[in-house]
Each structure stands twice: as structure tokens, then as C-alpha cells.
Symmetry: C3
Subunit: 106 residues, 3 copies
């Protein structure tokens, strides 16, 4: 099984730093960075409108906890948004590659 | 549990209006707007290619029906695309914050 | 039930070609193309940083295998990323439309 983990960052620099380190540590098979997101939410009773960048990590299930903890520890926010969605239909060859690369092969 | 709700809009203005109102009504904890999407679909037997904007709402499960109904009622399209995906791995601190903010706290 | 299928492409041209053909063959109800993605992954032990385009197909469950096979056969990569996530909360009118359009109606 594969998980798709979403987390937003304040800028591309902080997102890319975490992305590259997570990949180097083999905590995710592949990570996308999607720039130009606008985020709306309430913080201390006031509407916030922030420019953000979205990090999307594709992670074998066995690495989800480790990847989540790594992002949390290295994230600029105190309470970062880290949400995981199960991908239960994955091209078998891609899933095989993803698992191998996260075990240090490839 | 948290849900990620996707809905596309014809432009940033209509998407932002719905996003801000949904957040103000505490129907979603956080909403992203992703600009610059291209959509392809068939309508009355003809290929359509539209420029659209993607709204992505992070919603505690107990608010999904209310948020879906709100988006439907305030959407410029007759049959809007409103699709929800379950996020079953969410950072606990973030999930706690999302639930509280949708109950009017924070 | 509806599935959301993600696949990244090297450029908009190859993504749009596959998107339009999949829609014309009624293998998906609607397809988004999201430009300007950056992808990080390891290939032959080296960190890769590619500019990519994300294709997102909304597919009735009964068409998921056919759509996946079509994307795999027409994709420029040898091992393409094709991952599917279940959308279990879909606006009923939209789901009805999606099923009909994939059966050649509408």
C-alpha cells in the first residue's frame, strides 16, 4: 500500500529542504512541490489568507510514521498540517519501485 | 477523521468567495485555492477544455455534509464537482486543532 | 464510487494528449492538468529534481483498470507513477453525471 502525504509550507525554500532530506533518508519514494497555493483559515479568531507551497509525498505504508515525524520535526510551523490519504490502486511496477527505493535500493 | 474535499471553480473570485464564507461559518478548518488548472471533459458530446481553479477543503468528518451542501448551494455550476477523500493518517495535533476550529474555538 | 487517479508527465503536451484521448474514449469523466510541479526522487542512487505536470483523472470505479492501462501504454516513462485514491463522498448528481458520461451518454 502507498500513502499520499500532504503538508503545506510558507515558501518553496523550506519545502524543498524538507523534501530533499526526506528523499535522501529514503522516507518517501517521490515528493512533489506545488507552488502558488492560497490558504484560508481562522487563527485566534481572525481570518488568515496566506501564500503557501504544497508538499506531496508518496510513501510506502511502512514509512508513514517515520516520514510524518521527520516533517513535523523539521517544519517551520508549530502545528503543521500533515495529512495522509491511502492510495489503494497503484500501478504494480510503480509500487515495487517505490518500496525498493525506500529500502535503499535503486 | 478528516476529509479532503475537492471542487473546481471557473475563476479565483468565485472560489475565494465560497472559501472565505465556508471558513467563517466554521464548515472547514482550512481551505487551499490552487490556480491555473486546465480541465478536460465531454459536455453535450463535445470535448471541453476549461481554465479552472481548484478549491481543497480540509473538513472534520462531522462537517462534510454541511460543507458539501454549502458549496453546492453557492457554486456557479449547475452540477458542481464536489468529491471527498478520507484522510486516515493525520498529525494528531493538527486534527485536534481542525476539530476545535470547526467548533468555533481558536 | 469514484476514484481520483494521479500521474505525473514530463510536459503539458504529453499530459494533454493522454488526457484528451482518455476523455474521448470515455475512460474518465473529467481530467485536470496541474502545471508547474517540481518532483524529487532518487534514480540510480542520484537525487533527481524534475519539472513535471500532474494529470488528475476522476474515474468511476468500473473504469479504473482500463484507464490505468491506457495511461501506462501511452506514457512517455518506462515506469510511470499512476496512483489511485478512493473518493467515498461524492455529490450524488456529480457521480451520476460521471457514470453516464463514461457510458457514452451526455
Amino acid at each position: 500500500m502507498l500513502y499520499v502525504i500532504f503538508s503545506t509550507f510558507p515558501d518553496e525554500e523550506s519545502a524543498e529542504k524538507v523534501a530533499k532530506e526526506a528523499i535522501a533518508k529514503r522516507l518517501a519514494a517521490c515528493i512533489w512541490i506545488v507552488p502558488g497555493i492560497k490558504s484560508y483559515y481562522i487563527w485566534k479568531n481572525e481570518m488568515q489568507e496566506d501564500k503557501e507551497v504544497l508538499l506531496v509525498a508518496k510513501v510506502p505504508e511502512e514509512k508513514v510514521d517515520e516520514l510524518t515525524e521527520f516533517v513535523r520535526k523539521n517544519h517551520p510551523y508549530e502545528v503543521p498540517e500533515i495529512i495522509g490519504v491511502k492510495a489503494d490502486r497503484v500501478l504494480p511496477e510503480y509500487l515495487k519501485w517505490a518500496k525498493e527505493v525506500c529500502q535503499g535500493e535503486g
